[in-house]
């Protein structure tokens, strides 16, 4: 802000910004509010209760789905984030940057239902091809490789989450100066050591953010998962099928609120952690800069 600006105009703009964030969050906050009401949505009386949350945890179907969601999120994160890291390293060193960036970012632009349908038909055909190949050489070994399953859901979700991890990691890598790797190499470190001891500590924040992003994205995803999963259910697929079949029940309010709480808690703690870290790093830097008085 410069001196010529009107302070009230500045405050008005801030108010508008916060109003937009609040508007975007209103539906979620409202759902959270309704989820604690013993009488459910639209009731005249508001009685606070945790009853609906209790129902979630006594529902075995939901607990099973929650388990699958957690496993899926972990597997996708463990595979997708290192892949994004490798691609970011590749992109940094590549001569032709247009092809990798196009390939890695274009999943962002493909709508969920289109990507899901295309992969669904592709996997079904691939499965048929593998079965046919197996028949030709007389084995049934390949029969279930690409049947819709945990594997196909994982592949679909990796494609969905890689662009986000890639961008986050690439942005943190932008601050890393490659001369440091050169120095380490000149001192005799091999490629891996130079990366692990010198570069990784500096881009760690980006890698961890990418992990958190991936976990949340997988946890929240519905369309791609429901099209590509085999015989298992995730939290959101159970929730959405309940909502589509029987409408919003008090329990579905509680489930939606819970998913939102988890996401907000994860991202909130990251934001808090980054700010505290920046604060403490700043304090250390200031302490170092101060002259020693003796």
């Amino acid at each position: 802000m410069n001196d010529y600006d009107n302070i009230w105009l500045h405050r008005l703009k801030w108010a508008y910004l916060l109003l937009v964030v609040l508007t975007l969050m209103t539906p979620v906050i409202y759902v959270m509010y309704v989820s604690f009401n013993a009488n459910g949505f639209g009731a005249n009386e508001y009685v606070f209760t945790l009853e609906w949350y209790g129902l979630i945890f006594s529902d075995e179907l939901l607990i099973g789905a929650l388990g699958w969601t957690v496993i899926l999120a972990l597997v996708v994160t463990v595979v997708a984030v290192p892949m994004a890291l490798l691609s970011a390293k590749y992109y940094k060193a590549a001569d032709n940057k247009l092809f990798p960036i196009f390939l890695l970012l274009s999943p962002l632009f493909v709508p969920p239902d289109i990507l899901g349908s295309a992969l669904l038909v592709f996997f079904k055909n691939l499965n048929l091809v593998f079965i046919w190949l197996g028949d030709q050489i007389g084995t049934s070994l390949f029969d279930s490789w690409f049947r819709l399953s945990f594997l196909t859901a994982t592949i679909g979700l990796i494609i969905y989450t890689i662009p986000y991890s890639f961008v986050v990691i690439l942005i943190t890598m932008g601050r890393y100066r490659t001369e440091q790797t050169e120095a380490a190499r000149a001192c005799g470190a091999n490629g891996w050591r130079a990366f692990w001891d010198i570069e990784f500590p500096q881009i760690r924040a980006g890698v961890f953010s990418a992990c958190a992003f991936t976990v949340i994205l997988v946890f929240n995803e519905y369309t791609r998962t429901s099209l590509l999963k085999g015989g298992f259910d995730t939290f959101t697929t159970v929730l959405i099928s309940q909502m589509l079949n029987t409408g919003m029940s008090p329990q579905s309010y509680a489930m939606s609120a819970m998913v939102s709480f988890v996401a907000i808690a994860v991202i909130g703690s990251i934001i808090l952690f980054t700010m505290l870290r920046a604060e403490s790093l700043g304090r250390i830097a200031r302490a170092k800069a101060e002259p020693v008085m003796s």
């Binding site: 010529y4 632009f109 709508p111 494609i159 942005i171």
Partner: protein, 304 residues
């Protein structure tokens, strides 16, 4: 890793030159593995939609062949009308998102100190991190006849009758699209404003240029690639996210994503693939036009 960093260490021998030759050959492929994965499970399946769309439909599946029946089925039916009307509403959402969201990006870049900018943009990650599906579903109790908006307006005495056009209508879909995709125009606008140095605002002030001319003649041309990318994102997702019309829309609110998923439920796989192919063609031609007009690689400058 080894081959990548040995570019940098020019002159001297790579320190680990004595390692097994097969390993030295393998390492570059490790770095290419993610790209190979993306080609195999993303680029090829998307390209194959064109091939599968001309296959013959059978009772439960499809068989190799060549027929344009699926395209006929799409272009000579109510599907085309629905597709075109969803394009119209998607475009309206893009305009609303831009009008509401882009000024925020300009404000953050112009009036907030550099160190705090990223934190302010992080605020918009918060709604984006709550499942989109849940946010869309949550709009039902908000916009419903006896929902939050109507009951608040009635309590304030602004309306006597609840507004019913807010949900199960095209308006509902547009509201859903704006609330779902607004953060994206803030993000892409924020990235786009990287191309507009801060001193531009001072230069404009010194020359006595008003805010509108500053926006039209200076900011818009400089930030065009980023704005375009954000707008294409919103437009294509407005066409392709089936749950928006499914949950918020009424009669006639059908977009390409919904046509595709309905075709899959009806086991008409070639039609679903034809819709996917049409969507990919729409997306690629939009990106191509954008690239010709604004050179989209400029957006990536802050990344490389």
């Amino acid at each position: 890793m080894a081959d990548l960093s040995s570019h940098a260490v020019s002159g001297g021998h790579p320190v680990d030159a004595d390692k097994a030759p097969w390993r030295a050959k393998l390492v570059p492929w490790v770095f290419r593995a993610p790209l190979i994965f993306m080609v195999m499970f993303f680029a090829i399946p998307m390209a194959m939609t064109v091939v599968f769309s001309v296959f013959e439909r059978t009772m439960f599946w499809m068989e190799p062949g060549f027929t344009l029946f699926s395209y006929e089925n799409f272009f000579f039916s109510a599907r085309l009308t629905n597709f075109l009307s969803s394009m119209k509403y998607s475009l309206i959402s893009v305009v609303i998102c831009f009008v509401l969201g882009f000024p925020i990006a300009v404000f953050v870049r112009k009036s907030i100190p550099q160190v705090a900018q990223h934190r302010v943009v992080l605020l918009f990650i918060l709604p984006f991190m709550v499942s989109e599906i849940i946010r869309v579903f949550a709009l039902r109790p908000v916009l419903q006849r006896n929902g939050l908006v109507n009951s608040t307006l009635m309590e304030l005495g602004l309306i006597d009758e609840p507004i019913t056009a807010l949900l199960y209508s095209h308006t509902g879909v547009v509201i859903g699209e704006v609330l779902s995709f607004l953060p994206f125009i803030v993000f892409s606008g924020f990235l786009a404003m990287e191309a507009v140095p801060k001193y531009i605002f001072e230069v404009c002030d010194d020359l006595g240029v008003g805010p509108w001319r500053r926006f039209k003649d200076v900011i818009l041309p400089l930030a065009a690639p980023g704005i375009f990318a954000g707008s294409v994102f919103i437009f294509v997702n407005g066409l392709g996210v089936a749950l928006l019309p499914n949950i918020l829309g009424g009669a006639g609110a059908v977009n390409a994503g919904l046509i595709a998923t309905q075709a899959i439920t009806a086991l008409d796989f070639p039609l679903a693939m034809a819709v996917s192919a049409i969507m990919m063609a729409t997306l690629l031609s939009l990106l191509w036009i954008g690239h010709k007009l604004f050179d989209l690689t400029k957006i990536l400058t802050p990344l490389s």
